[in-house]
C-alpha cells in the first residue's frame, strides 16, 4: 500500500464498507426473509378469508397470543445464540403464571423473590453448563421436571387469581393501533438492541461461534454464559407474567407447547443450532408466522383434530423453502 492512500486504504480494510456490510447482512438474513414472505402470504390468505381482521380489533385478537410466545422465543434465541438449547422454557413460563396467580397476589414480596430466584437458578444453570461441560439440552430438560413439579406443588389444578396491576397490563387497548403490535415491535427492538448493538451481545455470539477466541480476548466464558442464561430467564419470566395477565389465572401446563414452538420460531426466523448468530427480528417473524397459522387454521373451519397436523406440515414446508433459499444464496 502506498503511504499517500494509507489512511483511506487502512480505513477500508479495517472497517467494512456499507456495501460489504449490506451483502453479508443480506446473506445472513435471507433465511429469515423467507419467514417474512411466509408471514405475509399467510396474512393475505387470512385477510381474504376474513376481511374483518384488518381492523384494530381484528389484529388485536389475532396477535394477542403472539406476545408471550415472542418473549419466550427471544429468550430461546439468546440461549441458542451461544449454541445451547432450552428444553425447559415451556414449563418455566407455566411456573411463572402459577407464581403470578398465587404468591404474587397473596404475598407480593415473596412472589418477586420467587421470580428472582428463577433468574438466579438459570444463572446457576449457565455456570453448570460452562464449568462442568454439561449438555444444555439435558440440563434444561431435567430442570423442566423441577419447574413442573414446583408448579404442581403451588397450584395442583389451574386457577388462582392474578394481581390487579397485572390485569391492567393486557387491559391497555388503544383505539388507533393494535396493542399487540406495539408490544411485538417493542420486544423485538429490545432484543435486537441487546443481541446486536451491545458489547454483551457480541460476546454472546463469540461464545457460540468461537469460545477460545473469546477467552483469549480476555473475557470470561463463564460470565458470558451466566449473563446469557440470566437474560433469557428474565425474558421467560416476563413471558409468564404477560401470559398470566392475559389468562387471568395460573396453570403450569398452560405453556407446555412453548418449548418446541419457541425453537421452531427461532429456526423459522433463520436461526440454527450451531450458535454464534442471533436473529431477534427473524424470531419475531417466526413467532408471528406460527401464531397466524394457528388463527388461519381456525378461520378456514378446519376440523380441530386436524389443526395440529396442518401446523406441523406448514412448519416443514416453510423450512423446506428455507433450505432451497439457502442453496440459492450460496
Amino acid at each position: 500500500m502506498t503511504t499517500l492512500t494509507a489512511p483511506r486504504a487502512s480505513g477500508r480494510s479495517s472497517v467494512p464498507t456499507f456495501r460489504s456490510r449490506a451483502t453479508i447482512g443480506a446473506k445472513h438474513s435471507a433465511p429469515g426473509a423467507l419467514s417474512l414472505v411466509a408471514m405475509i402470504v399467510i396474512f393475505v390468505i387470512a385477510v381474504a378469508n376474513q376481511p374483518g381482521i384488518l381492523s384494530v380489533y381484528g389484529l388485536t385478537l389475532m396477535l394477542t397470543a403472539a406476545v408471550p410466545l415472542l418473549l419466550a422465543a427471544q429468550a430461546q434465541m439468546l440461549i441458542m445464540s451461544v449454541g445451547d438449547i432450552d428444553l425447559g422454557i415451556g414449563q418455566l413460563v407455566g411456573l411463572v403464571t402459577v407464581i403470578a396467580a398465587t404468591m404474587l397476589t397473596t404475598d407480593p414480596l415473596l412472589g418477586v423473590l420467587a421470580l428472582l430466584a428463577i433468574v438466579g437458578a438459570y444463572a446457576l444453570l449457565g455456570l453448570l453448563v460452562q464449568k462442568r461441560n454439561v449438555p444444555s439440552i439435558i440440563a434444561t430438560l431435567g430442570m423442566s421436571f423441577v419447574w413442573l413439579g414446583l408448579g404442581l406443588q403451588l397450584l395442583p389444578t389451574p386457577g388462582g387469581q392474578t394481581p390487579e396491576w397485572l390485569a391492567q397490563l393486557s387491559a391497555w387497548r388503544p383505539d388507533w393501533i393494535p396493542a399487540p403490535v406495539v408490544w411485538i415491535v417493542a420486544i423485538t427492538l429490545v432484543a435486537w438492541f441487546l443481541a446486536k448493538r451491545t458489547r454483551f451481545g457480541t460476546r454472546m455470539r463469540a461464545l457460540g461461534s468461537s469460545s477460545p477466541t473469546l477467552s483469549r480476548a480476555g473475557w470470561s466464558l463463564s460470565r458470558t454464559r451466566v449473563l446469557t442464561y440470566a437474560a433469557a430467564a428474565v425474558l421467560a419470566v416476563l413471558a409468564g407474567l404477560v401470559l398470566a395477565s392475559q389468562t387471568q389465572s395460573g396453570d403450569v401446563n398452560s405453556a407446555g407447547n412453548y418449548t418446541l414452538m419457541t425453537i421452531a420460531a427461532v429456526i423459522l426466523g433463520g436461526g440454527n443450532f450451531k450458535g454464534g448468530q442471533s436473529f431477534p427480528v427473524g424470531t419475531a417473524f417466526g413467532v408471528v408466522t406460527l401464531s397466524l397459522i394457528t388463527v388461519l387454521l381456525g378461520l378456514i373451519n378446519l376440523s380441530s383434530s386436524l389443526q395440529s397436523a396442518a401446523q406441523g406440515l406448514i412448519v416443514l414446508a416453510v423450512l423446506a423453502g428455507r433450505v432451497i433459499t439457502e442453496r440459492f444464496v450460496r
Partner: protein, 353 residues
C-alpha cells in the same frame, strides 16, 4: 470404533466401572429404602416395577439409538407415537385379532417415523424440529382415531400383558430378550457399529465408507417402531388415551441419560436402559409410599437428572468410565476440558452433512 477397542483392552487389564453402574447403585439404594419403609416381601417392589418398566425400556431403546447418532439427534415424537399406536392397536385388534393389532401399531410407528426421516433427509430439517412436526401430525391422527374408536383392548392381549411366569411379567422377559438382541446387534453387526461410529464422527464414518444415510434412516424408523410397539402393548396394559404417551418423551430421554449412554452420541449403553427404567419406576413407588405428591416427585426426578449428568460428565470424558477416572475427577480439573462450543461444531456436520 477406536474407543470400542480401547474399552476392550481396558477390561482385560483391570476392573472397568460400567457406565450403568451409577443407576444400578440408585436401583439398589431405592430398593433398600422401600424395604426399610414399607417392609413386607423384599422381592415385591421389584416385581411390581418390572411390570411397568418394560414399556419405558421399549421406548428408550429407540431414543438411545437415535441419541447415539450424535449431537442434534433426538426423537421428540415418541410420546405422540405411543398415544397414536395405542388406538391403532385397539382398532385393528378389534377387526383382525390382537396380533394384527400389535403389528399395525408397529407399522403406524414406522409410518410416523417415515415422515420424520423424509423431513430430516430430503428437506434437511434439524431432527428436533422434524420429529416435532411429526408429533403434531401424529397428535392429529390420534384425535381422529379417538373420535372414531371407543372400543377397549382385546381380552387375549390383556391376558398376555398381565401374564406372569414365576411371578415375573412375561412382557419384562420378552423385552429383556429384545434388549439382549439389541446389545448384540450394537456390538456385532455392521449396523450397530455404524451407529456408534456416526455418533463419534459423522465425517469419519462417511470417509470410512460406512452407509451413513441408511443407518440414520434405519435408526429413526426403529425408534418409531419401538414407540409403536410400546403403545400397542400399553393399550392393553392401561387403556388407549390421547395423553397416554405424554410422559414417555421426557422419561425416555432421562432413562437413556441415567443409564450411562453418552448424550453427545457414539456410545449406547443398553444395560443402562433397564437400570435407568427400573430406578425411575422404583423411585416413583418409593415416593408414593412415603406420601410425596406428584409435584414433589417431579422436582426430585428433575434434580436427579441434573445431578447425574453433572457427575457423569466428569467421569465419562472420553467415552470410558473407570472408577479411577472418577476419583481423579474429584481431585482436580481434567487438563484438556473440551468447551461446550466444540459440540455445536459436530452438530453442524450432522445436520448439514
Amino acid at each position: 470404533m477406536n474407543a470400542l477397542n480401547a474399552t476392550k483392552t481396558k477390561t482385560a487389564s483391570r476392573f472397568t466401572w460400567p457406565a450403568w453402574g451409577w443407576s444400578l447403585i440408585g436401583v439398589l439404594g431405592v430398593w433398600l429404602c422401600i424395604i426399610a419403609v414399607g417392609g413386607g416381601n423384599p422381592g415385591g417392589p421389584v416385581l411390581q416395577a418390572l411390570s411397568l418398566a418394560p414399556y419405558l425400556v421399549l421406548v428408550s431403546i429407540g431414543q438411545m439409538l437415535v441419541i447415539s447418532l450424535g449431537p442434534g439427534n433426538i426423537d421428540v415424537s415418541v410420546g405422540a407415537i405411543v398415544s397414536m399406536a395405542s388406538y391403532v392397536s385397539v382398532a385393528v385388534g378389534a377387526l383382525a385379532g390382537p396380533l394384527a393389532g400389535l403389528a399395525a401399531a408397529v407399522l403406524a410407528g414406522v409410518a410416523a417415523a417415515l415422515l420424520s426421516v423424509i423431513a430430516i433427509m430430503l428437506l434437511r430439517v434439524p431432527p428436533i424440529i422434524a420429529t416435532l412436526a411429526t408429533s403434531l401430525v401424529v397428535a392429529s391422527a390420534t384425535l381422529l382415531l379417538a373420535d372414531a374408536n371407543r372400543a377397549g383392548a382385546d381380552a387375549a392381549l390383556r391376558g398376555f400383558v398381565n401374564a406372569r411366569v414365576f411371578g415375573i411379567p412375561v412382557t419384562a422377559i420378552l423385552v429383556a430378550v429384545l434388549t439382549v438382541l439389541i446389545a448384540l446387534a450394537l456390538k456385532r453387526t455392521m449396523y450397530g457399529l455404524s451407529v456408534a461410529a456416526i455418533g463419534q464422527s459423522t465425517l469419519a464414518a462417511r470417509k470410512a465408507g460406512l452407509r451413513v444415510t441408511s443407518t440414520i434412516v434405519t435408526t429413526y424408523l426403529l425408534s418409531g417402531a419401538f414407540a409403536g410397539l410400546a403403545g400397542g402393548l400399553l393399550a392393553a396394559y392401561i387403556s388407549p388415551s390421547t395423553v397416554l404417551g405424554d410422559s414417555y418423551l421426557l422419561d425416555s430421554i432421562a432413562v437413556v441419560v441415567l443409564g450411562g449412554t453418552l448424550i453427545a452420541g457414539g456410545r449406547p449403553v443398553v444395560a443402562g436402559l433397564w437400570t435407568g427404567a427400573v430406578f425411575f419406576v422404583l423411585l416413583s413407588s418409593l415416593l408414593n409410599l412415603v406420601g410425596w405428591n406428584l409435584g414433589a416427585q417431579n422436582v426430585l426426578k428433575g434434580l436427579l437428572v441434573v445431578v447425574v449428568i453433572v457427575i457423569s460428565s466428569r467421569v465419562t470424558k472420553t467415552g470410558r468410565s473407570t472408577l479411577s477416572r472418577f476419583l481423579s475427577s474429584l481431585r482436580r480439573e481434567p487438563a484438556a476440558t473440551p468447551t461446550p462450543a466444540d459440540t455445536p461444531a459436530l452438530t453442524k456436520e450432522n445436520t448439514h452433512a
